[in-house]
Symmetry: C2
Subunit: 493 residues, 2 copies
Amino acid sequence: MRDHFEIRDHDAAGRIGELEVPRAGVTVETPALLPVINPNIETIDPGRLRSEFGADMLITNSYIIRTTDDLRERALEEGLHDLLGYDGAIMTDSGSFQLAEYGEIDVTTTEILEFQRDIGSDVGTPVDIPTPPDAGRERAESDLEATREALADAEAVDVGDMLVNAPVQGSTYPDLRERAGREAAATDLDVFPVGAVVPMMNGYRYDDMVDAVAAAKRGLDEDCPVHLFGAGHPMMFALAVALGCDLFDSAAYALMARDGRYLTVSGTEQLEDIDYLPCSCPICHEHTPDGLRAAADGERESLLAEHNLHVTFEEIRRVRQAIRDGDLLELVERRARGHPAMLDGYRALLDHVDRLERVDSASKGTFFGLSHESARRPEVRRHHDRLARLDVPDSLLCSEYGEPSDHAFDEVWRVVPPFGPFPRALSETYPLTAEVPDRTDAAAERAAAEGVRALAEANPDADITLAHRGWGADALAAVPESVTLEDLSETRA
Amino acid sequence: MRDHFEIRDHDAAGRIGELEVPRAGVTVETPALLPVINPNIETIDPGRLRSEFGADMLITNSYIIRTTDDLRERALEEGLHDLLGYDGAIMTDSGSFQLAEYGEIDVTTTEILEFQRDIGSDVGTPVDIPTPPDAGRERAESDLEATREALADAEAVDVGDMLVNAPVQGSTYPDLRERAGREAAATDLDVFPVGAVVPMMNGYRYDDMVDAVAAAKRGLDEDCPVHLFGAGHPMMFALAVALGCDLFDSAAYALMARDGRYLTVSGTEQLEDIDYLPCSCPICHEHTPDGLRAAADGERESLLAEHNLHVTFEEIRRVRQAIRDGDLLELVERRARGHPAMLDGYRALLDHVDRLERVDSASKGTFFGLSHESARRPEVRRHHDRLARLDVPDSLLCSEYGEPSDHAFDEVWRVVPPFGPFPRALSETYPLTAEVPDRTDAAAERAAAEGVRALAEANPDADITLAHRGWGADALAAVPESVTLEDLSETRA
């Protein structure tokens, strides 16, 4: 058990948790967003991050501090918290990013962890090797071995009560990501960043990001707090949380602001293209687009950075609320419509339905049918698994139209796409309290047909009739021949 | 031509326009939201509506004023603007709502319009008959006749420079809605409310709302400003604007606040269920959920009303920006995932693709493939119409994989679901600059196959080969037999 992380609530593979950071004396509620502070360029005063934006944790780079003479001296003398003027928890990166970017750095895991400890970091990071996507297998494996050694070195350092990250690498090889996750979870380290996903996100490869995280999660234990390292665009928080990520960090808020870019939950806009501000944050409430454009460069950058942070933290709160309400997958549905690559990400998430099904709550908020993709949700899978275990009477009518006034069946069950049939006794239980569109779709009909098949195959001797509202050929092809079909769409429409 | 309404920009059937309200000396930019002010209960000081929320127009009820002694006297003496303390444009309702609710009112169109003129209303309303959904045909027709007479009476009143509403009724009968629209457009009245849609929205019948508005729009002229009367939930603005609605009015912000309800762009939450405020408006920025709950009743109601207005106006700005960016249908996609009934509404909108196609811009922002529904968008329809007019060489390869290094075809065209084939020369033109998911879907493949069919049927003598990425049976069934098929998904994957 990792006793500094406690899960309070969950939905899909997402959860609300509490990460205790003993050295800071701070408990960070997750999902959490850690603003990235470049110790050389302060876009927003770190002190304001906690009081105005609710950031209980931030992340800065100990490698930059160590290699910058005056920062190093001040950090060692005053401590990191005074240096930054921030009283929340501080995570420090190790220089792995610089290693990946420039090919070499002049510090070992032991040295950088001791330095992080000495400057008062609350969560330190060893020097892992971020292998980029699509690297050769051999390179990915040898990098992973170096990361494994870095984790072993990290375990040997006396870090006091500083928590330590155990990064999970493995490029785009699911088996390597899973193995790396298993090895990281076997250490006594504390927080588990999934690394080197930034190039995937920069390339809008959200489906690859999903597969990498899902593989890492298969290796990690459920009680491991997981950090999606370098992920700070609010567009993808819901998706990443639904996979089981707990921590995010954003340099995007500042980097985008520098380029005149304005974040939204469905993408990034150029300030110069905005005629109407689609936001009510204090910055957008008090300014017009022209007013923002007319501000002096530094002022504009800082205003944009504040907007970007507001929309980012707003989305973190929205994701937490969705977990509380049990409608996180509904939020993922909405975010999937922000960009085609996000839809790829959602479709990839649904490829991992078996894992989602295992960890998802059995009962939560009302299930909403919101798309063809909804038919692939874990709740549908779970209902079909249940159908395969249900006994039915000798003669059963499964009907989309409810019970006929006069019939000779032993029982009548309702049929609701995408779930399929269910006995009356289950109709008030989750997920069968679902709200689904009146105008159903082929995917929902097909899933309902698969439910009928599961039931019929589990009860080969039963005489089952299906009364449907004009299902398409694809759905009807999934119904076993033993089931009698009645198309009631014309007589009952 | 209706010279007080000018269309500045458009997308799908939605538009950004300017409604000149001469009596107020105010130009209202549309889409616009008119907060409803109950003259007896002021939840928010009307003066703040313009300065803080940007509301250039509000709506209040002249019938309530006329039947409340002290309000009537003050309105006649001071004028409506001083009575409310509001210097924007004021629209007044007539008592039709009370008529629908209580069955009778004691005022005629002529009387109420003269009263509205006398108290200084900027946009008046006759006494039309709001026929509820699913009313009998006979009733709907006789109500419509009464509304037609009310419009004729209204035309006869000397209203000075007050604009006058010409409501469009007709219950759930598309032909009556269309006829009512045609008759309203034939008057010299000014603004065109589509009436009696509130019961549809209260019943989450967004598809019926879509059909009613689409029918009314068929009868109205394109230059008629259209008011979706009683529609104030931000969830449905994008959908209604995409249909061609320009004005909305919200009593919801205040009524919901009274019941402790908190609006979002994807639905309504109970304040008591909220643990994290999913919003950054000034109210949500300065309060916690507990803080809001702990406020005194009146204070809480007023804070909630302000939040509700912020999120409402934010969505109006977002819709305008989407029209400017040419991605209004992408916003409709997102909003359709707020509730299954909104998805029904979007699916219903796509039933009117022919009309959308006629009014939509030929070129705009990048088309995003965001769902199975995207395959039914007007841009896809238009491309297929174009394919049916294109000439092809004697032998043509249509390929999802680009041009093979070695081939004997006269030409090679790209194939992109949901559009289908297109010649290289069109690949930089809208909508073929589309971004679509890598993980395509059956609906997109099927639409692409219909594109192939359109091309093949227009060129019966051409020798066409289709190289596809493993399309499903449904899509392949739509490809004519004359087309040679090559499944490259296994050799090229």
